[in-house]
């Protein structure tokens, strides 16, 4: 079919093999580096699918994750005896997870599911469908309905009305639609995200700060 799909499948296969190697290998440093390869593969997939912001962000985040993990692992590598056995029987875990994933995917991809719940085929998302705009009026106010047809999902509406040529009914005004969505239409989600990052960083400080008590060899008071 089209070459984008084949390149995408090749990249996804590469990522799957890389993640399986990262999970199963005994050496901790190799597994960390394999996770780095999976991250770079993700960045290539984002670039292929028309998401340049995500590709840049994924590359830089991947570099920082690699630096931190390699620093933590490289002086403590002699734990290889611990990676061989697992906590539960491997077959049971794989069977349970496989059945769960198959059921979820089957429900999402089948044709008999609800129109809103169903996974759209790859390349034709919900926003390519059009609905009659009279259905989009606020409840009880049918006079406020726009004319014609509108895209069936909110992303299509942002694309269609995100920038208008006249000042009176302007959209967000940003040429980068993703930034317009992130900081104008969905700015509250960005506020929540800033809060989550704040809390995670404070959590890392709180775990790693030097405790007030002295930590000599004989003092076991932090048990």
């Amino acid at each position: 079919m089209d070459p984008i799909l084949w390149i995408l499948l090749a990249l996804l296969g590469f990522m799957l093999i890389g993640s399986l190697i990262a999970i199963e290998t005994r050496d901790l440093l190799s597994s960390v580096i394999c996770v780095g390869a999976v991250g770079f593969g993700t960045s290539l997939v984002f670039l292929l699918l028309g998401a340049p912001d995500l590709a840049i962000t994924q590359v830089v985040v991947e570099i920082l994750v690699l630096v931190v993990l390699v620093r933590v692992v490289i002086t403590r590598r002699d734990e290889t005896h611990a990676t061989s056995r697992s906590t539960l029987p491997v077959g049971v875990v794989l069977l349970a997870l496989g059945v769960m994933a198959a059921v979820v995917f089957g429900v999402l991809a089948s044709r008999e599911a609800d129109e809103d719940l169903r996974l759209a085929p790859f390349g034709r998302p919900r926003m390519t469908r059009q609905v009659d705009a009279a259905a989009l009026a606020p409840a009880g106010r049918p006079d406020l309905a726009p004319a014609g047809t509108e895209p069936a999902s909110v992303g299509g509406a942002y694309l269609k009305h995100g920038l208008t040529a006249d000042e009176a009914s302007r959209g967000s005004g940003a040429a980068n639609y993703v930034m317009g969505v992130l900081l104008d239409y969905r700015a509250y989600d960005t506020l929540g995200e800033a809060t989550v990052i704040f809390v995670a960083v404070i959590g890392a400080y709180a775990v790693l700060r030097k405790v007030g008590r002295s930590r000599h060899a004989g003092n076991e008071s932090d048990r």
Binding site: H81, G173, M179
Partner: protein, 155 residues
């Protein structure tokens, strides 16, 4: 944690300014080209992490301290919240109340560049502080280190 060899130090002196400049460019032009506050913030954190790794722990304790990272983090968050609260001037909590301007210019799209700046400072300083706490501070040897030696000698 010591610094690295003189080659790495000299190259860092040349390159670190460009990395910080690139990060600032991506933050400020986020509404025109791909990028934005989050991407630019992570690039800034990476550039500062490079400087700390190359010049050692002494640099992290004198110039780019943990206190600086914490204060910058909070200032970025406060700037973002200020933009959000000032949106009340337009009616509701987060409205884009400044004029939209011409498309594709640096000063356009209302409050979006200011919010991008706040997010960029916040994410950059926060992630740099987390990096300092994880990878740059030497930990005192506690009871765990002796237990590690005991485990090594028994296995």
């Amino acid at each position: 944690m010591q610094g690295m060899s003189p080659i790495v130090k000299n190259i860092t002196r040349l390159v670190a300014g460009f990395i910080v400049l690139f990060g600032a460019y991506i933050v400020l032009y986020g509404h025109v080209t791909p990028g934005g506050g989050f991407t630019g913030g992570v690039i800034l954190a990476g550039g500062l992490a490079l400087v700390v790794l190359a010049f050692g722990e002494a640099f992290a304790r004198n110039v780019l301290t943990h206190e600086v990272a914490k204060v910058a983090d909070s200032m970025g968050a406060l700037l973002f919240l200020l933009v959000a609260v000032l949106g009340f001037a337009g009616g509701v909590f987060f409205t884009n109340f400044l004029p939209a301007g011409t498309l594709g210019h640096l000063v356009s799209a209302g409050t979006i560049p200011i919010a991008n700046l706040g997010i960029g400072i916040k994410v950059g300083a926060g992630l740099f502080g987390a990096f300092l706490a994880l990878a740059a501070f030497r930990r005192t040897t506690g009871a765990g280190q002796e237990r590690a030696d005991v485990l090594q000698s028994h296995s």
